[in-house]
C-alpha cells in the first residue's frame, strides 16, 4: 500500500525541485511538457475511460488559446482569474455543441465526425478574419494573477509560470482520478465495455458521455490557455487535427487505462521529438515510423516495457486482460 504513494510523491518532489536545479530553458521545456500532459489526460478521459476516439480535441485546446488572445488587452497582461474561466467556458461550450452531435453516432462514424468538426473549427479561424485569420495573432504579455489591482503572481517569470502550470496539472490529476473512481466514472467505463448492457441496466449513456466530453473539453481548454500564454502566439494550426492525432499518440504511449499514463506519454513523445529534431531535418519520417512501431508492438503503451506501474489504475477492481495476474486468476478459476 505504501508503494502506491511512493513513486508519485518522489516525482512530485522532483517536479517541485526542478526550477531550482536547472536552467530557464529546461524550466520552460518542462512547462510545455506539462501543458501537453494536461491535454493528453483530458483526452484520455474520453478515449481511455470513455472508449471514444476523438479527433477534435485540438479544437478545444486552440479555442481557449484564441480566447486568451482575443481577451488580452493590447500590451498589458490579461487577468488570469477572469480570462481562464472564460476560456474554459468557451471550450466547454464547443465540446457541448460538437459532442451533442457527434455522440449521436458511434464507432467509426464518431471518429470521422469529430475529425470533421475539428476541421470546421480550424476553418472558422483560418478563413474568417477572426484574430488574424491564417496568420494568427499575438498574445503580447503573459497573463497575471491579480486581485483588486494588486498583482499576486506575474506569469512572465518562467519559474512562476511553471509552478502555476504544475498546480493546474495536480488539480487535473486529482479531478480526473476523482471522476474515474466515482460512480460516474464507473458508469462511463461500463458504457465503454458493454454499451448494450450498461443501457439495459438503466444508465443514460448519451448523457454520461456528453458530460465526460464537456469536462474533457474544458480541461483541454486549460492546456490551450497556458500554451498560448507561453508561446505568445496563436494560429489556426493549434486547432488542427494533426495536433489531435499527436495527442492521441501520447495517450497510446502512456496507456489508456490509467489516469497519469497520458502524462507519461506526453513527456516521452515531447522528449522524443526534441531528440529527433536535433538529429535530422526529416524527423517526421522517424516519428512516423516510431508511431507505427508502437501501434504494432506496444498496444498497451510503454507499460509493456517495464513492470513498474505509474499512477493510479482506473478500473481498480479488475486488472487488464493481458496481464499475468488475470490470466493466472482465470486459470485458477477454471480448475478450482
Amino acid at each position: 500500500m505504501r508503494q502506491r504513494w511512493l513513486v508519485p510523491t518522489i516525482l512530485l518532489a522532483m517536479a517541485v525541485a526542478l526550477p531550482f536545479v536547472t536552467s530557464t530553458y529546461y524550466v520552460q521545456f518542462a512547462s510545455k511538457a506539462l501543458i501537453m500532459g494536461i491535454l493528453a489526460m483530458a483526452l484520455n478521459l474520453v478515449v481511455g475511460h470513455g472508449g471514444l476516439v476523438s479527433l477534435c480535441h485540438a479544437a478545444f485546446f486552440g479555442l481557449a488559446g484564441y480566447v486568451l488572445a482575443l481577451l488580452s488587452p493590447g500590451y498589458d497582461p490579461a487577468p488570469l482569474l477572469l480570462t481562464l474561466p472564460v476560456a474554459m467556458l468557451a471550450s466547454a461550450v464547443a465540446a457541448l455543441a460538437i459532442g451533442a452531435l457527434a455522440l449521436r453516432t458511434r464507432g467509426v462514424y464518431f471518429i470521422m465526425v469529430t475529425l470533421a468538426f475539428g476541421e470546421m473549427m480550424f476553418f472558422l479561424f483560418h478563413d474568417t478574419g477572426i484574430a488574424g485569420g491564417s496568420d494568427g495573432t499575438y498574445v503580447n504579455a503573459k497573463p497575471e494573477i491579480a486581485i483588486g489591482g494588486y498583482q499576486l503572481l506575474d506569469l512572465g517569470s518562467p519559474t512562476v509560470f511553471y509552478f502555476v502550470v504544475l498546480a493546474c496539472l495536480a488539480a487535473t490529476v486529482a479531478l480526473i482520478a476523482m471522476l474515474v473512481n466515482a460512480p460516474f466514472g464507473r458508469a462511463l467505463a461500463a458504457a465503454r465495455d458493454n454499451e448494450r448492457r450498461a443501457r439495459s441496466l438503466g444508465f443514460p449513456i448519451f448523457r454520461i458521455r456528453l458530460i465526460a466530453f464537456v469536462i474533457s473539453g474544458a480541461i483541454a481548454g486549460v492546456a490551450g490557455y497556458f500554451a498560448a500564454a507561453q508561446f505568445g502566439f496563436v494560429a489556426p494550426q493549434m486547432l488542427g487535427w494533426h495536433l489531435s492525432a499527436t495527442v492521441l499518440v501520447m495517450v497510446l504511449i502512456g496507456g489508456l487505462r490509467s489516469v497519469t499514463g497520458p502524462l507519461i506519454g506526453a513527456l516521452v513523445l515531447i522528449a522524443l521529438e526534441e531528440v529527433l529534431k536535433a538529429a535530422t531535418d526529416h524527423w517526421k519520417l522517424a516519428e512516423g515510423l516510431i508511431v507505427i512501431f508502437i501501434v504494432l508492438a506496444l498496444p498497451s503503451g510503454i507499460r509493456q516495457l517495464w513492470p513498474m506501474i505509474f499512477g493510479e489504475r482506473a478500473d481498480a477492481p479488475a486488472p487488464d486482460v493481458g496481464s499475468r495476474r488475470s490470466v493466472a486468476a482465470a486459470a485458477e478459476a477454471r480448475h478450482g
Binding site: P183, R186, D193, R196, A198, R199, S200, A333
Partner: protein, 255 residues
C-alpha cells in the same frame, strides 16, 4: 388471481416490420406480478424480436406497450429499465473485464439515488454494495465474487447476468433463453432460481427447453411466423391443435 390484478407489463397490437419483412404481427401479451409467462415457438417465430420490442432496443412499427398505467412505447431502453424493467440476454451480456462484484455493483448503482455521482469513491455507497451482495448471494455466486467475469464458466456467467438483473430490483424481468447452452446440472440451478423470481415480480420467459417451460410457466403464449397462435394455461396449450401442428408436432410429444 393473477389475471385480476392489472398487468405489470402489457403489449397491445404490436407490429414490427423490417422493410417488407413482417417480424411481429399484431402481437398482444400481458405479464402479471406473481406469474411466469413463457413465450415459445419455432425458430424465426419472432420471439427475439418481441423481447427486443418490449425492452426498447427495437422500436415498434405500431402498437402500444405499457408498464402499469404508463405508456412506454416511445421510451429508450435505459428509461424502461429505470421504470422497473430488467432484461437478461440470450447471449450473455455482462462486463467481461470487471469482477463479479463490480458487475453486480454497477447494476445496483444504476438504480441508486445518485447513479452518476461525480465525487467520492463508488465503493463508499454502502446501500448499493449491500444490494449487490444480496443479489450475488441470491444466485449463489458469493464464493466467486472476486473473480473476473470472463473467467467464469458459462453457467456461472448466466447466474451473474441474473444477479445483475436482480440488483436493479425490477418489477418485470425479461428472460431471453436463459438455459441456452447449459448442461443438465447447471440448468437445474437456473430453473430453481427462475422459479423463485416470480414472488414479487412479473417474469416473461422465452425458452426452447420444453421441460423447463412446462415446469415453470403459469401461462404460455405460442408464436409462429410473427403471430400469436395460442395463449393460455400450459395444459391448454399442450393440447391446442394449431400449436401441435406448428411446433410440438415437429419435436414429438413434450409430455
Amino acid at each position: 388471481m393473477a389475471e385480476q390484478a392489472g398487468a405489470a407489463l402489457r403489449a397491445t397490437n404490436l407490429h414490427k416490420h423490417f422493410g417488407g419483412l413482417r417480424a411481429v404481427s399484431d402481437v398482444s401479451i400481458a405479464v402479471h406480478v406473481g406469474e411466469i409467462h413463457a413465450v415459445i415457438g419455432p425458430n424465426g417465430a419472432g420471439k427475439s424480436t418481441l423481447v427486443n420490442l418490449l425492452s426498447g432496443e427495437l422500436r415498434a412499427s405500431s402498437g402500444v406497450i405499457t408498464i402499469g398505467a404508463n405508456d412506454i412505447t416511445r421510451l429508450a431502453p435505459d428509461r424502461r429499465a429505470r421504470s422497473g424493467l430488467g432484461r437478461a440476454y440470450q447471449k450473455t451480456t455482462i462486463f467481461p473485464r470487471f469482477t463479479v462484484h463490480e458487475n453486480v455493483r454497477l447494476a445496483a448503482q444504476a438504480h441508486a439515488a445518485k447513479p452518476l455521482r461525480m465525487f467520492g469513491g463508488a465503493e463508499t455507497d454502502i446501500a448499493v454494495r449491500e444490494r449487490a451482495m444480496q443479489a450475488i448471494a441470491q444466485v449463489g455466486l458469493s464464493e466467486r465474487a472476486g473473480v473476473i467475469a470472463e473467467a467464469l464458466s458459462h453457467g456461472e456467467q448466466r447466474q451473474l447476468e441474473i444477479a445483475m438483473v436482480l440488483a436493479t430490483d425490477p418489477r418485470i424481468i425479461l428472460l431471453d433463453e436463459p438455459l441456452a447452452g447449459m448442461g443438465q446440472v447447471e440448468a437445474r440451478g437456473i430453473i430453481d432460481l427462475i422459479a423463485g423470481l416470480k414472488a414479487a415480480r412479473a417474469v416473461l420467459l422465452v425458452e426452447h427447453d420444453m421441460d423447463a417451460v412446462f415446469e415453470l410457466a403459469d401461462r404460455i403464449t405460442v408464436m409462429h411466423d410473427g403471430c400469436v397462435i395460442a395463449c393460455g394455461l400450459p395444459h391448454e396449450v399442450r393440447q391446442h391443435p394449431a400449436v401441435r401442428a406448428a411446433y410440438l408436432g415437429e419435436h414429438g410429444s413434450a409430455a
